[in-house]
Amino acid sequence: MTKKNASTFIPKFVDLSRRSMLSLGGKGILSAGAVALLSGSETLALVNPASADEMNEDVQFLNAALGAEQEAIAAYQVGAESGLLGKSALDLAVQFQGHHKEHATLLAKTVTQLGGKAVAPKMDYHFPVEKLKTEADVLGFAASLEKGAVSAYLGAVPLFTNRDLAQAAASILGDEAMHWAVLRSALGQNPVPSAFMS
């Protein structure tokens, strides 16, 4: 096997020449802008300046992600209140809902920082509650939402003009992929059924 330089594994969109690179325990690298976004820092700002139109598009993408996160929060609430979940499944649902709340808070804050208006949660959501009769049904429904969320972020990441935002969105994607895998495992399914996501 050919030995590859470590930089081979760093996503191409990360500009290695920038001074703003920070090392994360030697296991990964995030740019300063992405770190600012992920930590909710007030100073995100536009490490990669973009035109107003491009920034407007980024705000659109962030708002679309925010809408999906709000839907996920509501879905986990339905699952948690269904009375169908045992303790371990309920703990998972509450933990994952908490992650989605963190995503939503950060996305809303970032939209505002970029001069946009964060979308509000819907007054009500339609979920197929009539099909949820067992714990496995609820976990399967949650898994399908998480898989969809991974695909949605995967489709959106290449669109961001600001690459720091793209990287931050990819970080959320990773979290949702872990949710999907854990839920599949809880269902007794292969947690990682393929080498690639689409």
């Binding site: 679309a64 992600a65 339609h126 898989k147 969809g148 949605a152 489709g155 669109l159």
Partner: protein, 127 residues
């Protein structure tokens, strides 16, 4: 005018993609859409039941971008094929945050599934 001609040419070429579409495979590919869409109800994206033959931006009660609402597109195998290849290039200003499906067979299979599901009473029961 130029844009209209370009679209016409693309539509003329697009039937090439539909030669061996597999709707079962398309059903699996539809998982890519389910972060935002469902067949039978609106989510952050509009429902897909009844999509084929529907004017773009016409699901009652769903809030569309001006670009989508004013596009005059009628959804068909051909228009979907072009749109899904690169939604933002095809319709600048639309709000669908999706880079597109570049693989011709993937698009053909996905669209075959959407056609099959379009008015399937099992999948398209109104909530």
């Amino acid at each position: 005018m130029f844009r209209a001609s370009l679209i016409a040419i693309i539509f003329w070429l697009s039937p090439l993609m539909a030669s061996s579409a597999d709707s079962d495979r398309g059903a699996r590919l539809y998982g890519r859409c389910t972060g935002c869409h469902s067949l039978d109800y609106d989510r952050t994206g509009p429902r897909h039941c009844g999509l084929i033959g529907r004017k773009a931006g016409a699901v009652p009660g769903f809030v569309y971008s001006s670009a989508m609402k004013n596009s005059s597109i009628l959804w068909s195998v051909q228009t979907l094929d072009v749109f899904l290849q690169n939604p933002r290039a095809f319709m600048p200003g639309n709000r669908m945050p999706y880079a597109g499906i570049k693989n011709n067979q993937d698009r053909a299979d996905l669209i075959a599934f959407l056609v099959a599901a379009n008015d399937d009473p099992k999948q398209c029961a109104q909530p």
